[in-house]
Amino acid sequence: MNKKDNRTAIIDKAIERVVRDCYGKILSQLTYQFKNLDLAEEAIQEATISALRHWQEQGIASDPEAWLYIAAKRKAIDIIRKNQTHTKKQHALTQHNKIIENDSFVTDNSSPSFQDRRLELIFTCCHPALETSSQVALTLNTICGFSTDEIAKAFLLKRATMAQRLVRAKRKIAKARIPYAIPTADQLEQRLNGVMGVIYLIFNEAYYSKGSQYLSSTALAEEAIQLAELINQQLPHRAELLGLLALMQFNFARFKARLDKFGRSINLKDQNRQLWSSNRIDKGNQYLNAAVALKRLGSYQIQAAISAVHSTSETFEQTDWLQIYGLYQKLQQYQNSPVVQLNAAITLAYTQKPLAALNQIEKLEQAGHLNQYHLLFVAKAFCLKKLGDNKASTMAMKTAIALSDNQFQKDYFQQELESWFKNIS
C-alpha cells in the first residue's frame, strides 16, 4: 500500500467512526421532522457519500455532526423534490422550506443545537406492535447505527434473513403509522418496560455472545448501557430503569472474567475476582442506591441487588447467601418463573439448609417445567452431596451431564463430580 492509499484508508476509518457516532441522533431528528424513516435513511446515506468525497479532499469538517445533519437534510429535500408530483411538490416544499427556515443551523453553522430525538425513535423501534426480535434489530440498526451485516452476524443469522426482518418492520412502521413519539403518560410505563426488555436482551446477547468475533461483545454491551443512559437523561428518576442500569453495570464488571481463553463461559464460583472492574461495580452501586431511594421496587432492582451482593463479596465462599436468599424470595413476588424458584432453592442450599433446598428442587422437578433442565440436576446433586447421599448425588449429576448440550459443560460437570468424591471412591 502506498502512502496516499494509506492516508485515504485512515481517513475512511475516521469518517466511518464519525458517521456512526452521530448516526442515530441525525436519523432520529430527520425521521421526526419528515415523519419518514426510509427517507431519513436514504438521505443520511447520500450525505455520507458526500462527506467521504469532501472530507477526503479538505479534511474532516470541524463540526462533522452539524455538517452531516445539514447535508442529510438537503438530500432529504432533494429526494422529496424528485419523487413528488408537481402539485404535491409545491405543498411539500413550502412545508419543508419552513423546516429549514426555522432551523438555527442554517444561520449559525457553528452550534449543533438540534434537539435529540432518539428517545422518540427508540419508542418507535420498540413498539409492541412489532415482533420482539424485530424490535432488537431495529434499535441496533437505527439508533446505534449498526449495519444489517453486523446485526446478522451478532445474532448468527443470514444477512438476507436479517435484511428481510428489518425491511418488514420498517414497512409496518410506515404502513400502520406507528408514531415517532414518546407515549402519553398513561401508556408510558408499560411502553418503557418494553424498551427496557429490548435493552436487556441486547445486553444479554453481548454477555452470552456467540457472534463476538464479528461485532465485539463489549461494544454491544456498551450500546445497551448507553441506550439506557440516554433514556435516563430524558426520563429521570425511574426506579426500574436505574435498576436495569445497575444490573448491567454489575454484570459488565465481570466481563473480562466471564470467559476463559477459549471463549468458554466460566461459572461465577470459579471466576478470578481480581479481573472484576471495581469502577463498574461502583457505578452499579450508585445506580442501585439511586433506584432504591425512589422506593418503587421492581424485578430489575432486585436482580441488581443480587448481583451487588456477589460483586462486593471477596470470595465465592464469603457470599452473604442469606441476603441473596431473601432477595430471591422478594424477586418471586415480581417474576415467579420456575427458574427464579430454582435459583432461590439453590441459594437455600448455600445457607446450610440442603434438605429444605432439596425438597423445593424436587417439587419443581415434579411440576415438570424444568425436568429437562440440566441446572436443576446440578442443584439436586449439590444438595444430595451436602446431605451425604453420594450415590443419589452422582446419579443426579450424570442426568445433568446427559441433558447438557454442550461438551465443555459436560466435561465441567464431570470434573466437579470427581472433585466432590475424589477421596471416597
Binding site: H127, A129, K175, A176, R177, I178, P179, A181, P183, T184, Q187
Partner: protein, 117 residues
C-alpha cells in the same frame, strides 16, 4: 389515516341476549360509540348478525360456488367493526382497548390501504 378495528370473539363467550350482562354490554357499546363520535374519529361501525347467518361465495372456473357459513376453524369469529380515522397507530390501539368485547375477545387493528392518486 383510517383503521379498521375488527372485533373477534367466541360467540359462546358473549353474554346471552336478555341477560343483565348483555344489557350492560349494549350500554357499554353505546358509550364507546358516543365517545368516538364526539372525538371526531368515527367513520363507520356496525355489529354483525351471528356466524350462523353467514354465507360464503367463491368463484372457481367462472362458476360461483355458494356454501353455508365460513370455513373458519377458529372459535373466534368476526362480530362487528369500527372504521376510525386516527392520527396514528397508538391512537387506534387506545380506542381498540376500549371496545367492550376486547375484555373477552380480541380486536384486530388494520390500516386501510392508501391507494395512490
Amino acid at each position: 389515516m383510517q383503521y379498521l378495528l375488527m372485533i373477534y370473539a367466541a360467540e359462546s363467550a358473549e353474554p346471552a341476549p336478555g341477560s343483565d350482562e348483555f344489557m350492560k354490554l349494549i350500554q357499554d357499546y353505546g358509550v364507546f360509540t358516543e365517545e368516538v363520535k364526539n372525538a371526531g374519529v368515527f367513520v363507520g361501525g356496525e355489529p354483525l348478525e351471528p356466524i350462523a347467518t353467514a354465507t360464503t361465495v367463491r368463484v372457481r372456473d367462472n362458476e360461483p360456488l355458494i356454501t353455508d357459513g365460513p370455513f373458519a376453524e377458529t372459535k373466534e369469529v368476526l362480530g362487528g367493526y369500527y372504521l376510525l380515522d386516527c392520527d396514528n397507530l397508538d391512537q387506534a390501539l387506545e380506542y381498540a382497548a376500549k371496545i367492550p368485547s376486547a375484555k373477552y375477545g380480541s380486536i384486530e387493528v388494520r390500516p386501510i390501504m392508501q391507494l395512490p392518486g
